[in-house]
């Protein structure tokens, strides 16, 4: 028997209903206004955007209030709420399970819808803007509906419940829970904006470069948030899961990587369309793929079809998301087919030695990469559906295929920035690659001096050097021409992003190839050695609070500082969570985990030690990518898209 939900439940559902009705009416107003050019109706569009945003804020705030006040009349609070959860994690508990995460999606999507409405407020009479708003409203209506029915966070819970287990212990163990999901959602949901404009362009038939240029910044925003969200997830994995890795090719990680790959392909290929009028169908297809993959990713994560460190429990929303996925694909492909004639590109690639050819090659590689990741992720599901066999595709499949693709992309990253559009001579290429090539050689020699070996890592370091040289050459030319403004704008910011990617590639190459690990049985006050480091167990201590019992091994590393890997038992859920302790430096991390079984009164402990070279450069590279994205979003003193790459920039143009 279920109890009444009380004020929170009723209020929350009312907000969701208002939001859904607002989105439906908004879509109706946008489509009708666009078709009939009815200014009176069009003027209503921003009001509906405000309404759905207000409704989403209301619903989210109601859920936060219920969580903070521990309103156990709600099933969701019973599932993830607890009196013993600290305030910070209790706040984040709202998005720690399926229903709350969809609610957050609704909030972010409504926020984007309002932001777009504000952005096009003076151009709402333009059909492309109205149609795009209509698409935003349709997607919003879908998510309000999902939140109202199959993923209802305001459902009534069992009567008489006075406390709950709290969120999954893995979500109570690190402050990143506050940032990783919201930032990732800003990326996921942000893709809706360029997708909406792509659909609007197809409907209106205005498939030239106008809409593309207009939504460029939105695409970059979404891509930047997705990049940063994924990187934060890796950091979380490293800091919380205790396996010393940053990427496991877990299906849910893959689900976030897939739209990132197609999105990255898009932000490159869009340059070709702007500049040369080519790849129109391809660019629209990439946007459709990116948006569809966010829906597919949500289906994979939240339908219960897979086991994963991230997977939410089984739910009834799978069919909803599959249906949405199908609708998006059918409508988009139908529209592309309908506008086939207009999408025909007037331009052709004049030479394989040109920037557009390099971008095309880059897109082919990204497409293959996306296919490989998608195949590896859904292959077990397909086999299970067809043959009722339970199989797994392990990390080696992804590692073996992504390594050559990554190396090929690094090669293109070295060459593409120095290539002019249209055609390059070998002399031009030779001149422009002179210093980058020396950088590559220097990187190779340096890595050999430091003892690196193996084809893949050495190629990574050498190509990383060439790519970094090419990016630095571009930045240096731009800053010499334009001063500090040579750092902003898409091309220049893009080079900073490239430098971040190169750092990440080198860090992954080093840490994947040269990591060492060993389990050590440490006895108190007896020194053990591994990989040139000393480890001495000083004590094993127990820390208790009202939600957990934590056993920590105090280990003196290299006779300098004590580190405390721990195992925490969350008593309400009965789950053990390991907490690694890491000594970070620019050259290598010393990563310690405590291995079970462990007893506080014992004078010994089993410690697993990982030596992870250069891992900190992964986070530095990520920060550089974030900075580069911000610089790319700001308007530089850039050329018109049709001007030659070597053309001087006029003073005063922005």
């Amino acid at each position: 028997m279920l109890a009444s939900t009380g004020v929170s439940g009723t209020l929350g559902r009312a907000f969701l209903l208002v939001g859904f009705i607002g989105a439906v009416f908004g879509a109706f107003a946008a489509f009708t206004g666009a078709r009939r050019s009815d200014q009176q109706v069009i003027r209503l569009i921003p009001r509906f955007a405000v309404l759905i945003f207000a409704a989403s804020v209301g619903a989210f705030a109601t859920m936060e209030y219920a969580m903070i006040t521990r309103d156990f009349s709600l099933a969701y609070v019973q599932k993830v709420g607890s009196w013993s959860t600290p305030a910070l994690y209790n706040f984040a508990a709202v998005w720690s399970a399926l229903e709350g995460s969809i609610l957050m999606w609704v909030l972010v999507l409504a926020g984007y819808t309002l932001a777009v409405a504000y952005w096009v407020r003076k151009r709402m009479h333009d059909p492309i803007a109205s149609w795009a708003m209509g698409v935003m409203f349709v997607v919003s209506a879908f998510f309000f509906l999902v939140s109202f029915f199959p993923a209802n966070p305001f459902a009534a819970g069992a009567p008489g419940v006075l406390d709950g287990p709290g969120p999954n212990p893995l979500l109570q163990n690190h402050v990143l829970v506050m940032f990783h999901p919201p930032i990732l959602y800003l990326g996921y949901v942000g893709v809706t904006v360029p997708f909406a404009f792509a659909i609007a362009a197809l409907i209106t038939g205005r498939v030239d470069e106008g809409w593309l240029v207009a939504t460029r910044r939105w695409s970059l925003f979404a891509w930047g948030f997705l990049t940063f969200g994924i990187a934060l997830g890796s950091w979380w994995s490293y800091e919380v899961l205790g396996w010393s890795g940053v990427w496991a090719w877990d299906p849910v990680e893959n689900a976030s990587l897939l739209p990132w790959i197609t999105g990255t392909a898009y932000i490159h290929s869009v340059l070709v369309q702007e500049r040369r009028g080519m790849l129109r169908v391809w660019n629209i297809s990439l946007l459709v793929a990116t948006f569809s993959l966010t829906i597919l990713g949500t289906f994979l994560t939240r339908s219960g079809v897979l086991n994963s460190v991230h997977a939410f429990s089984e739910s009834g929303i799978g069919s909803w998301f599959l249906a949405m996925f199908a609708v998006v694909l059918v409508v988009s492909i139908g529209l592309i087919g309908w506008r086939g004639d207009r999408l025909r590109s007037p331009g052709v690639i004049d030479s394989p030695l040109s920037r557009e050819a390099a971008f095309l090659a880059n897109n082919v590689l990204f497409a293959v990469f996306a296919f490989v990741v998608l195949l590896g992720t859904v292959f077990p599901l397909i086999v299970e559906a067809l043959q009722n066999r339970q199989i797994a595709v392990g990390a080696p499949f992804f590692d073996r295929l992504s390594t050559p693709i990554g190396l090929a992309l690094l090669t293109l990253m070295a060459i593409a920035p120095v290539l002019p559009w249209r055609k390059a001579t070998t002399e031009t290429l030779r001149d422009r690659l002179f210093w980058p090539a020396w950088c590559g050689l220097g990187a190779l020699i340096l890595s050999l001096v430091f003892g690196a070996y193996g084809l893949a890592p050495l190629l990574t370091f050498a190509l990383g050097g060439v790519s970094a040289g090419a990016a630095l050459r571009q930045v240096s030319l731009a800053t010499r021409r334009q001063g500090w403004r040579g750092l902003v704008g898409r091309a220049n910011g893009g080079m900073i992003v490239h430098l971040g990617v190169i750092l990440i590639a080198v860090a992954l190459g080093a840490s994947n190839s040269f990591s060492k690990s060993q389990e050590l049985s440490l006895v108190q006050d007896v020194e053990a050695q591994f990989a040139g480091h000393t480890f001495e167990l000083r004590d094993v201590v127990e820390v208790r609070d009202d939600r957990s019992i934590s056993v920590k091994a105090l280990v003196l590393v290299d006779g300098r500082k004590i580190y405390a890997p721990a195992i925490t038992k969350f008593t309400r859920i009965g789950m053990n969570v390991g907490t690694p302790s890491v000594r970070t430096s620019l050259t290598a991390d010393v990563y310690l985990t405590l291995e079970p079984p462990v007893r506080q009164d014992a004078n010994e402990a089993r410690i697993k030690v990982f030596i992870k070279p250069m891992i900190v450069w992964l986070w530095i590279g990520t920060a550089l990518m974030a900075v580069g994205t911000v610089l790319a979003v700001f308007p530089g003193r850039r050329r018109k898209p049709t001007e030659p790459t070597s053309a001087p920039v006029e003073v005063g143009r922005s």
Binding site: W243, A392, P420, E519, S646
Partner: protein
């Protein structure tokens, strides 16, 4: 929109594009992005294409059935499309074959894709569950444990035992090699923890089954019995003790 007006629109777009490209080309040549030779070749190509398109647009004005003049896909274009389709099929086929090769049985609690490197405790637990279902996979899991913990007694013992089991039906040469390897691992396990009964038990069985050494087997099995082996291991031992005694008696 009719087909002819769509084609006319497309041709006008292409004309605009080519004329704009000619202007860009001159700019790029002026700023040194293109050398003289490439400029000449590209310029000639663009002029020729623009002239063709302009002629087609003009002829459309005097011809009501413009659709007949619409550019058709050339054999070269069709060939390129076929080549791309073929390449896509090849890549998809190769990736499909590779993923099928790389897939394996999914155990309880495992994710469908990817893997987080487990602690030795959880790898051992998976290996135990796999021991007699898929000995090959279990051996790999024990080897993984030994790569980070070379002194892990359980991994040393059970890897040796599974190796001995697999080799039992093989030829003499293989049996001999398997026994040497298993015996080495078991002796090492015993040297690390002499009270670990399983290692003594399996050493006894291996000596008898693979090396016909009843004397050595008896010695190991005696120590095994003194150390209270677990029930499932005791089951193996009980079934062989009589045979060993008979061999010694004979």
């Amino acid at each position: 929109m009719s087909g002819s007006s769509t084609n006319l629109e497309a041709l006008k777009q292409e004309r605009e594009f080519l004329l704009r490209s000619l202007r860009d080309l001159e700019q790029e040549h002026k700023f040194g992005d293109l050398d003289d030779q490439d400029f000449e070749a590209l310029h000639k190509d663009y002029v020729s294409r623009a002239a063709t398109i302009i002629r087609q647009i003009e002829s459309s004005g005097s011809n009501s059935s413009f659709a007949e003049h619409a550019p058709e896909s050339s054999p070269r274009r069709r060939g390129r499309t076929l080549l791309v389709a073929f390449m896509v099929l090849v890549v998809a086929g190769l990736a499909g074959w590779f993923v099928a090769q790389q897939s394996g049985q999914r155990l309880a609690g495992e994710s469908i894709a990817g893997s987080i490197e487990d602690s030795t405790a959880s790898i051992l637990s998976r290996a135990r569950a796999t021991n007699f279902v898929d000995p090959q996979a279990a051996i790999e899991l024990y080897t993984t444990v030994l790569s980070v913990d070379p002194d892990n007694v359980e991994a040393l013992t059970y890897r040796a035992w599974l190796l001995a089991l697999i080799a039992r039906g093989a030829g003499d040469e293989v049996k001999k090699l398997a026994f040497e390897s298993a015996s080495r691992d078991l002796q090492r396990a015993i040297s690390i923890d002499a009270s670990y009964a399983d290692a003594h038990c399996f050493l006894g069985i291996a000596r008898f089954r693979l090396a016909d050494d009843a004397q050595g087997a008896k010695q190991a099995l005696t120590i095994c019995a003194q150390n209270n082996p677990p029930a499932e291991v005791k089951g193996f031992v009980d079934s062989i003790v009589a045979e060993v005694d008979a061999a010694l008696g004979g």
